[in-house]
């Protein structure tokens, strides 16, 4: 009997460690401080979003232990940067630490560099079968993610330094969401990397992140897209704060699944077979990624529809971006059916996931480049 008792599954709150509680208190204190400072400037929805974010962050930290240091660290780096501004944007070009590390653009350039390095190191680790190099790859990816998250936080602050009517959350244009995309993709990958105890797939996932980083660099050096612009009326809505991030969890997951698909295809063809994880593991990671992506993409599309109802007068207008979101969604719905209902595995689904990335990329970028519509994310 006593033995049986010892197998009793403990409820969640009993399984939490002091460090979990410490983290939760930290997040709640921070949220409380944000509330105290900014409450007068927020409407009811934004207050709800703040409260929801606090709860979500606590939950995420409890669910994924690495988050418990990642988030406070990024926030700390961002706060350090913010404290150096003394309320003057111009200090970004004069104060040493801001100029070379902590201003949003510097932090983002560091993020870009670290992602490139991580890609190289992951590949080196894969090709030389060096566990140490692969571990370094993870470390660099983590570092890049910290800089990226801190950069976005600082950018948020900087936008208010430009003008109190200009300030807004940095998810309002293609440049900003690309950073978000690399960040989310990297974090999701790091989660699965730990979960499946395999680092070799990083070489592939980091490729798509590097491509996005290449785009970010081109976009800011050639097009000066990094400039903070105020929000046009259509984007002045609290919906943006939840619709856009939800979408990018979806895009990030789909991008990751495609790269895992590439890895799986290679393994099935016998390329790098003895260096990469087994096809089954890759297959399962791919499935996990697509299912979380599908969930978030569904939520994002629904939120988008609700936003559209407020902004454009109808929850569905067959605007090209909307329509392409539907196409992406249908694509992955079909993928999931084939896998879960028909029981397909392996090569065809891997190919399909790879092609899915093309569809997703078109929805994400191509629509802005080639089609016009109501979405104001701006063309290239």
């Amino acid at each position: 009997m006593e033995l049986a008792q010892s197998f009793v599954e403990q409820p969640l709150y009993k399984r939490l460690k002091p460090s979990d509680w410490l983290y939760a208190v930290l997040v709640l204190v921070a949220a409380g401080q944000a509330w105290r400072l900014y409450n007068p400037f927020m409407d009811g929805y934004e207050q709800a979003i703040l409260a929801g974010s606090a709860i979500g962050l606590v939950a995420l930290g409890w669910f994924w232990k690495s988050w418990r240091w990642f988030f406070p660290l990024s926030a700390g780096v961002a706060l350090l940067g913010i404290s150096l501004y003394h309320g003057q944007l111009a200090r970004a070009q004069t104060a040493f630490w801001l100029k070379f590390l902590l201003s949003s653009q510097s932090a983002i350039m560091w993020m870009c560099t670290l992602f490139f390095l991580a890609t190289l190191v992951y590949w080196a680790g894969l090709l030389t079968r060096s566990a140490m190099l692969s571990r370094m790859g993870s470390g660099l990816t983590w570092a890049a993610a910290v800089m990226g998250a801190a950069g976005l936080f600082v950018r948020w602050y900087e936008s208010y330094l430009i003008g109190s009517d200009v300030g807004h959350i940095p998810v309002s244009n293609l440049y900003e969401v690309f950073i978000l995309f690399t960040l989310i993709t990297a974090l999701m990958y790091l989660y699965y990397e730990a979960r499946f105890a395999t680092r070799q797939a990083g070489a592939f996932v980091l490729l798509v992140i590097s491509a996005a980083v290449g785009f970010i660099l081109w976009y800011s050096f050639d097009r000066q897209a990094h400039e903070i612009q105020p929000l046009i009326p259509a984007l002045q809505s609290w919906w943006m704060k939840i619709h856009v991030p939800a979408n990018f969890v979806g895009y990030g997951a789909f991008a990751m699944s495609a790269m895992l698909g590439v890895a799986e295809l290679l393994v099935l063809k016998g390329v790098l077979k003895d260096r990469l994880p087994s096809a089954e593991v890759l297959d399962e990671m791919m499935y996990k990624a697509i299912s979380i992506g599908f969930l978030f993409f569904t939520i994002a599309t629904i939120l988008g529809a609700m936003w559209a109802a407020d902004a454009w007068g109808g929850y569905w207008s067959w605007d090209p971006k909307e329509t392409w979101a539907l196409i992406v969604w249908l694509n992955y719905a079909a993928w999931l059916h084939i896998r879960l209902v028909k029981g397909w595995r392996g090569e065809p689904l891997a190919w399909w996931a790879v092609i899915g990335l093309l569809v997703t990329t078109f929805a994400f970028l191509g629509v802005n480049m080639y089609l016009t519509g109501l979405h104001s994310y701006g063309g290239l």
């Binding site: 049986a4 990094h226 612009q229 329509t323």
Partner: protein, 674 residues
């Protein structure tokens, strides 16, 4: 179901429609159809399509409904089939799933338990069912027991039955969403159009004259239409797009626009669009006042009112008309209303003057250099990449008006004029754009303004150029000056005066282009350069005299001979020359206006919206249940000296392997009795 009924066509159809194969096929077709709609711009005016595709393909595409794919019959049919297919799928799988949800399968035979992939026979010292029950309870399993005849006991447990519930949620959700969408779609309207009880209006006629067959009553359940209301005016209908035409939807209330606001950021981007509106119910007279903004609609009577666009609501304008064909005439004042049209008679010819939009703000980047990085050095780019804010010299260059001048033959030339003087390098200009094709960019001309910021002096100069009666006097003065500066010899005097007159005449006739033409035709190529320079020199000298003569004729003192004025004269030469391409008998100079704005409102009634939202919620719940609740079954068959543990899950994945390993260890410990 009997063998016979399974062979009927109906049953075969049922099987087909409820099959995954069919559903996936539908999803694919739906996706492809949707792509067409995003590639081909939807709901454009029909002539645009005809222009793009040519008559033949235009007609074919029209037949296929490609100009409004998402409302075409075939697209709606696909959607309807998807609803049907999903419904049948639920009906087909549902009963089985429900049975499965309820069942524990405690009667499973030894053979089938052994055949399960995760199954193991554990040797036991002492089988204590109570310990196993306690284990199951502690782990949160629900189970059923079955005492077999052979004395063994089967505990059949399961977890996560909600996973199957997810299937119901997600798939019923799709049906609910589609029904909501169809309620808000224009299916009834399409049907009415097909039987001919509703006919879209294609003419551009006043709203009150639109016949009843193109009007929809307030009883119409769902609509989405637009109306533009000027400040101080009101509207009680909206216009719905219907293929090549439009329909008029009556509203249960009247919307009046008190004021429209538009606000800009310092960089010229729009910051706020808002309308103060008053909604008065027709039946009850109830009045609702509110401000609608983008992202903040007003909902009255189930109709949501959105800020959709804005424009010019017809602003009274005052203009000065300079007669270009009779330059000696004084300008006349005329009145007009933007967005309106009026007849204009000039020099005996009749025109129609069609005003376009009055734009009060025109914000331009005055820094001169373009924003693209092509010409920048790497270090400059690095520097730029570090800053999130770039200084731009943005300037509001003031109001502008566009208008068309249409002649008797229906040919129109379009103009775009700025009202305020535009400063460039210390001088002021009137800037006027002209084009004769909508697809062309405007060609802008700069007419220099005098010290009083008026066009008068320029026009006086031009008038003198156009007046051959003055040429003698001008030539005389120019020649005299040339003699004084000993640029010419006395012997050449006569010939020089002749040249001056000839150049004046030629320039007055066709500007620099006319002179160039002459050079091209009559002067050998090797001499052209030199002759052209001479001409320009003469012209630049003569223009001073033209101005002096013109001023003298008007009884005005001559202008001081400073560089400022000389520059004015040179700019005037360019302006006079450019006016030859202006293609209009009059130059209309905007003098003042009284801005009346209009607000474009979109009004929608969408009774299906709540269904769609309900369906969406169900969909999310369903997906979470399906993906993240794992249905797991576990069997313990307790024999005398062994216990068989078997586990199965609706999804095979590595989670189950791990789970199974952990549980077999636990059970093994339990039955070992230690």
């Amino acid at each position: 179901m009997t063998k016979n009924s399974r062979n009927t066509t109906l049953y075969k159809l049922y099987e087909l429609f409820s099959s995954m194969r069919f559903a996936i096929g539908l999803l694919t077709i739906l996706a492809i159809a949707s792509i067409i709609g995003t590639v081909l711009k939807q709901n454009e005016p029909y002539p645009n399509y005809a222009f793009e595709f040519g008559q033949y393909w235009f007609a074919v595409f029209e037949q296929l409904g490609l100009y409004d794919v998402y409302h075409s019959g075939w697209f709606l049919t696909i959607l309807a089939f998807l609803v049907l297919s999903t419904t049948l799928c639920i009906l087909r799988n549902g009963p089985g799933f429900i049975k499965d949800m309820k069942a524990y399968r405690e009667k499973a035979s030894d053979n089938s338990l052994a055949a399960i992939r995760h199954s193991v026979e554990l040797p036991a010292d002492k089988v204590d069912p109570d310990a196993l029950r306690a284990y199951l309870r502690g782990q949160g399993w629900r189970w059923r027991e079955h005492q077999r005849e052979d004395g063994s006991l089967v505990l059949a447990a399961k977890k996560g039955a909600a996973s199957k519930l997810g299937y119901f949620f997600a798939h019923i959700a799709l049906v609910v969403i589609c029904i909501g969408g169809l309620m808000d779609g224009n299916l009834p309207l399409k049907l009415a159009e097909m039987v001919g009880s509703v006919v879209p209006e294609t003419r551009d006629i006043p709203q009150s004259q639109i016949p009843a067959q193109s009007r929809l009553s307030t009883a119409n359940l769902s609509f989405r239409g637009n109306v533009t209301i000027a400040e101080g005016k009101s509207g009680d209908v909206v216009f719905l797009n219907a293929g090549n035409g439009y329909l008029v939807q009556e509203l249960p209330f009247t919307v009046s626009l008190k004021k429209f606001y538009v606000d800009y950021y310092s960089n010229g981007m729009p910051k706020l669009f808002a309308s103060d509106i008053v909604v008065t119910d027709k039946a009850t007279g109830k009045v609702t006042e509110a401000q609608v903004k983008v992202n903040h609609p007003l909902i009255v009577d189930g109709v949501a009112i959105y800020q959709a666009s804005f424009g010019d609501g017809g602003s009274p304008l005052s203009l000065k008309a300079w007669n270009l064909d009779a330059p000696q005439m004084q300008p006349v004042d005329i009145k007009g209303i933007s967005m309106g049209s009026q007849p204009l008679r000039a020099n005996g010819k009749d025109y129609n003057l069609e005003f376009g939009e009055l734009r009060v703000f025109n914000i331009e980047n005055m820094s001169g250099k373009s924003d693209d990085a092509a010409g920048k050095s790497l270090s400059q780019r690095m520097q730029d990449a570090r800053e999130v804010k770039h200084e731009k010299q943005l300037k509001n260059i003031g109001p502008s008006i566009s208008f068309k001048l249409r002649d008797k033959q229906g040919q129109a030339v379009e103009f775009h004029h700025y009202m305020a003087p535009i400063q460039q390098d210390g001088a002021s200009y009137l800037v006027a754009g002209v084009r004769s094709k909508v697809s062309d960019p405007f060609q802008y001309l700069r007419l220099p303004l005098d010290d009083k910021l008026s066009l008068e002096r320029f026009m006086r100069l031009r008038s003198a150029f156009m007046n051959p009666a003055l040429y003698d006097e001008i030539a005389q003065r120019t020649t005299a000056k040339a003699m004084q500066g000993s640029a010419i010899s006395p012997a050449m005097q006569q010939q020089f005066a002749g040249s001056v007159k000839w150049i004046l005449a030629r320039f007055a006739q066709g500007g620099f282009v006319a002179l160039e033409q002459f050079l091209d035709e009559k002067v050998p190529q090797d001499k052209r350069q030199a002759v052209a320079q001479t001409y320009v020199k003469i012209l630049q000298g003569a223009v001073v005299d033209v101005m002096d003569v013109a001023d003298a004729k008007a009884g005005l003192p001559p202008a001081s001979a400073d560089s400022q004025h000389y520059r004015f004269l040179l700019d005037s030469l360019v302006g006079i020359s450019a006016l030859h391409d202006y293609q209009a008998p009059v130059l209309l100079q905007l003098q003042g206006f009284d801005q009346v704005q209009a607000s474009g409102l979109q009004l929608t009634r969408s009774p299906g919206k709540n269904l769609v939202y309900l369906g969406s919620l169900m969909l999310v719940i369903g997906i979470i249940l399906m993906f993240y609740v794992r249905e797991v079954r576990l069997w313990l068959r307790c024999g005398t000296a062994s216990v068989r543990l078997a586990m199965s899950s609706n999804r095979h994945n590595r989670d189950l392997d791990e789970d199974f390993r952990r549980r077999s260890e636990a059970i093994q410990q339990l039955v070992r009795g230690k």
